[in-house]
Amino acid sequence: MFRKTLLMLVLAFTAIGGAATAADLSLSVDIPQVQVAEYHRPYVAVWIEGADQSIAANLAVWYQVRGDHTKWLPDLRQWWRRGGRDLKVPVDGLTGATRPVGQHLLKFDAAQAPLASLKPGQYTVVVEAVREVGGREAVRIPFEWPIKAAKRDSASGSKELGAVALSLNP
């Protein structure tokens, strides 16, 4: 398990740590394979949390877009209470369909929305996943803004999320 996680992290950092021209924040989110009889892709929210735990920036929200399945968005409990409930979905460039098992890369230019409006300070990247007939899990990685030096950090979920790797490139 540990070796697999390590390998995933190496792969993740290789993928997100490519040569960058502008400062950016890159994130790799691993949706793990879960051995269950009934599997549904998880709903996932990725956001940047401020020191007061409010949402400083929404980065991604994946839910079942076809049909009216926004009904289950409150199951992303932390995201919902911290501001997901204020958001009218769908939102261009933010919300999208649920993703399959595997590694998903997100990259955000520091000079563009939604990062451009971040004030200097301490933040946390939060990835929360909830799966139908499954569980819920949130993974957090703290970081400092603005990006002064290249930084890589990672954390891992235990069931609903695999490795989450954050890469900050000045």
Binding site: D68, T70, K71, W72, L73, P74, R77, Q78, W80, R81, R85, D86, K88, V89, R136
Partner: protein, 268 residues
């Protein structure tokens, strides 16, 4: 044997205090947090000491009132009264917080007629016809009861006290924004004013699965507030009541006011 039971029952009626203990009253919503698109919820209403098991009696829902975020009434649908619970559906489409309440204002009277005890219960308006003018040993008491729960669609909106009479909740922390291990402040009002020195009892649901009810009692401070740190996620039941001599019905002195509410505490 049966005869002696009837005698005992009659005796109990005579000696029972004017405010005999009734089973716990509660509303149980199927969910308290609804997505922005809104949806249907179902609410059960029961009188049962086990929280939240329908194992005693149904609650009368004649006095049910549902108020939407805009202050307008919302009509309950499919109301039904069963043996152990009443229930109704609500279609909630407007974003914000809904107040679901069963609040009544009744008068209870006891007197003697030809040496036999008589009892009557009704609204203050029905008193004149319900209680004989020359009733002997008449005892009357006003009862102001409020049983509530709250549901929010999308972002919760402010919950304002509704009646200005009896006991009411004027929450500092929104009742649909409660989380395990966090502290919430609740303020209680009596006749619209902060009510100090009240004992507020809070019990977590699932009492059938515990050896002890594990009720916690909080005393309201001078501002009528309590601060509750929720030990775990789940449905909680809260009750507070007072007895005083501030009845608002002419010709009645004694008053009993109670407030009970069901609140969902969510996981972190």
């Amino acid at each position: 044997m049966k005869n002696s039971f009837v005698k005992l029952a009659a005796l109990l009626v005579i000696v029972a205090p004017a405010t005999s203990e009734a089973a716990r009253a509660w509303l149980l919503p199927s969910q308290t947090i609804v997505a922005r698109s809104g949806g249907w919820i179902t609410v059960d209403a029961a009188m049962a000491d086990d929280l939240f098991s329908f194992n005693q009696g149904a609650m009368q829902i004649d006095a049910l009132a549902v108020t939407g975020p805009d202050g307008q009434p919302v009509a309950p649908q499919n109301p039904a009264k069963g043996k152990t619970r009443s229930s109704f559906d609500l279609e909630l489409r407007q974003a914000g917080t809904y107040r679901i309440s069963v609040a009544d204002n009744t008068v209870m009277a006891r007197w003697e007629e030809d040496g036999k005890p008589k009892r009557w219960r009704g609204t203050p308006a029905e008193m004149a016809t319900g209680i004989p003018a020359n009733a002997a040993k008449l005892e009357v008491e006003q009862t102001q009861r409020r049983v509530e729960t709250f549901v929010s669609v999308g972002t919760p909106t402010d919950v304002k006290p509704a009646a200005g009479t009896g006991l009411e909740l004027n929450p500092v922390q929104h009742p649909n924004d409660l989380y395990a291990r966090e502290t919430a402040k609740f303020r209680f009002l009596l006749d619209g004013k902060p009510a100090p020195d009240l004992e507020v009892e809070i019990i977590a649901g699932g009492t059938r699965y515990r050896d002890s009810p594990e009720e916690k009692v909080f005393k309201t401070n001078k501002d009528g507030e309590i601060a509750v740190t929720w030990p775990a996620a789940g449905m909680y039941w809260l009750e507070v009541s007072i007895q005083d001599e501030k009845a608002s019905v002419p010709g009645v002195k004694k008053r009993r006011a109670s407030y009970s509410g069901t609140f969902e505490v969510l996981t972190q």
